[in-house]
Symmetry: C2
Subunit: 356 residues, 2 copies
């Protein structure tokens, strides 16, 4: 018998990462920034004209787009904004990965790339990271319908150099190359300077990490004017008014406070440096991270055991039960105090474990 169910797009439901609701917790599991957004963001929210909510917001999001364009010294027509970088990436997959050949992305990477590809019926090939769990540029020289990778990569935290990114672009002139720079502000080279040379490069960014605004859902893409026009054509055919009035003001206010932004980044970087040293002291193996998290494996104690032990002590980190990375923990860089508590706990736990 026929049913409305026959016409439903079936997907393997994506399960968002755990968002524990534990008042005493130390939350180091979703790469949120431990510091609040700029005080200018609060000021913008307090000054909102709430009566104006009765009107539609500016569909071009001009206030936010122009702030971002100025900040990166680009034209406004080179900037696209969306509801978090997930919205921007979903639109980019829909717009640019519309061919028959498979798109390429790393096997160990942001867990949403294959979800979008499955949802939108885009063929794809997962390109294995090398032995060091790093992206090997030469592997992206194969025929494809598009390329996407994060820089720095997640959950590994290591970054490609600008020259390595250029290498990938140089060998992929005929398809769209997306560099997902969600974590770039914490210490990797941005691909933005390459926009002048490659009209098929899209650089995607977010306010969720370095700007401490995950709760406000702001992402953006920078690219050639032609690419941004293509993106906007699809976006205006999907949802013309995505950015609400609060977000337009709050986002622009964040961009306006460069000093605060740099200060916050520095604090995270200093704590990251300290955390890396301490973890190594405790017997962890980890690469220097270019992001606001570290990806660490312990020589003696399995990651899953540590994950559970931390969790029982209200310290939430991320564990991936996946091939190649099932002995690693991804630990977000919190405040210095939070990381001291983490290190103290691990030190005590590992010591007791040895004595057993």
């Amino acid at each position: 018998m026929k049913s409305w169910r026959d016409n439903v797009r079936r997907v393997v439901p994506y399960v968002p990462g755990e968002q524990p609701n534990d008042p005493d917790m130390i939350k180091l599991n979703t790469n949120e920034n431990p510091y609040p957004p700029s005080p200018k963001v609060e000021e913008a929210i307090r000054n909102l004209d709430c009566d104006a909510f009765r009107l539609y917001p500016d569909p071009t999001a001009h206030k936010l787009v122009s702030a971002i364009a100025d900040y990166h010294d680009l034209k406004e027509s080179q900037v696209f904004v969306g509801v978090g970088s997930d919205d921007v990436l979903a639109m980019a997959f829909m717009t640019f990965f519309n061919g028959d050949r498979p798109i390429l992305f790393p096997d160990i990477t942001y867990s949403f790339y294959d979800v979008w590809a499955d949802l939108l019926r885009i063929p794809y090939v997962k390109v294995p990271l090398n032995q060091e769990l790093e992206i090997s540029c030469a592997d992206y020289k194969q025929e494809n319908g598009g390329v996407i990778f994060p820089n720095p990569n997640a959950p590994t935290g290591t970054a490609l150099t600008l020259e390595e990114i250029r290498f990938i672009l140089e060998h992929n002139r005929e398809t769209t190359v997306i560099v997902d720079e969600a974590y770039v502000d914490f210490g990797a080279d941005t691909a933005l300077p390459l926009l002048k040379e490659y009209d098929n490069l899209l650089v995607v960014r977010t306010f969720s990490k370095s700007r401490s605004m995950a709760g406000m859902r702001i992402g953006y893409a920078c690219g050639s004017e032609e690419m941004i026009r293509c993106l906007n054509d699809v976006k205006y055919s999907f949802n013309s008014y995505t950015m609400d009035m609060t977000v337009l003001e709050a986002g622009a206010a964040s961009i306006a406070d460069e000093d605060y932004f740099q200060e916050t980044i520095c604090k995270v970087q200093e704590t990251r440096q300290w955390t890396q040293e301490q973890l190594r002291r405790l017997g962890f193996t980890l690469k220097d991270s270019s992001a606001n998290f570290v990806f660490a494996s312990h020589g003696e104690c399995p990651a899953r055991e540590l994950f559970e032990a931390l969790r029982q002590n209200h310290i939430y980190v991320r564990y991936f039960d996946k091939p190649r990375i099932d002995n690693y923990l991804r630990i977000t860089i919190g405040t210095q105090k939070e990381m001291e508590k983490l290190v103290d706990f691990l030190e005590t736990y590992l010591k007791k474990r040895k004595e057993r």
Copy 2:
């Protein structure tokens, strides 16, 4: 030569309706509510904990979903929320209109249905409104891959009765039927009571019109638990975190202020009644509207001429240069004072025109 352009999804760019930026204007062109949102919305915004913006918002949007579910006496698992009803409808098209047979919607209706269908490569048939420019239920008895219509319809403003909607559902048990109730609060029967009988019915609503919150981008859908699960599966595969923290609070605050909501609706209805009478007095033909706009045609003066004359006098209404409706104006119901200015202008203009 191959190019990244070969893989781009080509769409006919949708052009959002005019958003004039004229300080002295009377804006009656995009069906915005002339009254501000509930004062409780402002209160919620002023009380926001902006430091919490550093964290991800609740992906389940529980605060908003539960407020809506309570309001309509539904289960939380029967409510889906999105970034305006456009986001909800885009997700619904993607989720439920995934078959090979054409979906059906009126030829004169919300201008986005064919845009989504084109974008998502969904086949469709436009079912002509009858001579009276009304939906004729019997026309929806043909084979299809889904049905969608607004109630009241836009831009015509007339509504189907609950029994007529039941008729359409009764003859479409095998495909998804979406009733787009963007304007229903202004005086049409809601299809919500039919949810108990039809598990293939989706009712879509917005905060943009009756709740005076177009600037905040909140829409929702009510349906069977199974339908809402299907919608969420697709949504979580597209963008898990769509509703920002300000929207969750502001939306719930609006729902909490039922008195203000009813008061605002009443004011719009009273002004609509007065406007309809005045327009008829001036020689316009129009049906009683169930929405916050009227759709009117003048016996002697072409709509396009009136549109231009109004525009030159800073009064913006909507004119559609489309077959069958190119002699109509869609006029949003503003404040009583705004409508008096509109009527005064029209009276003077039509009188002078007659004397020429």
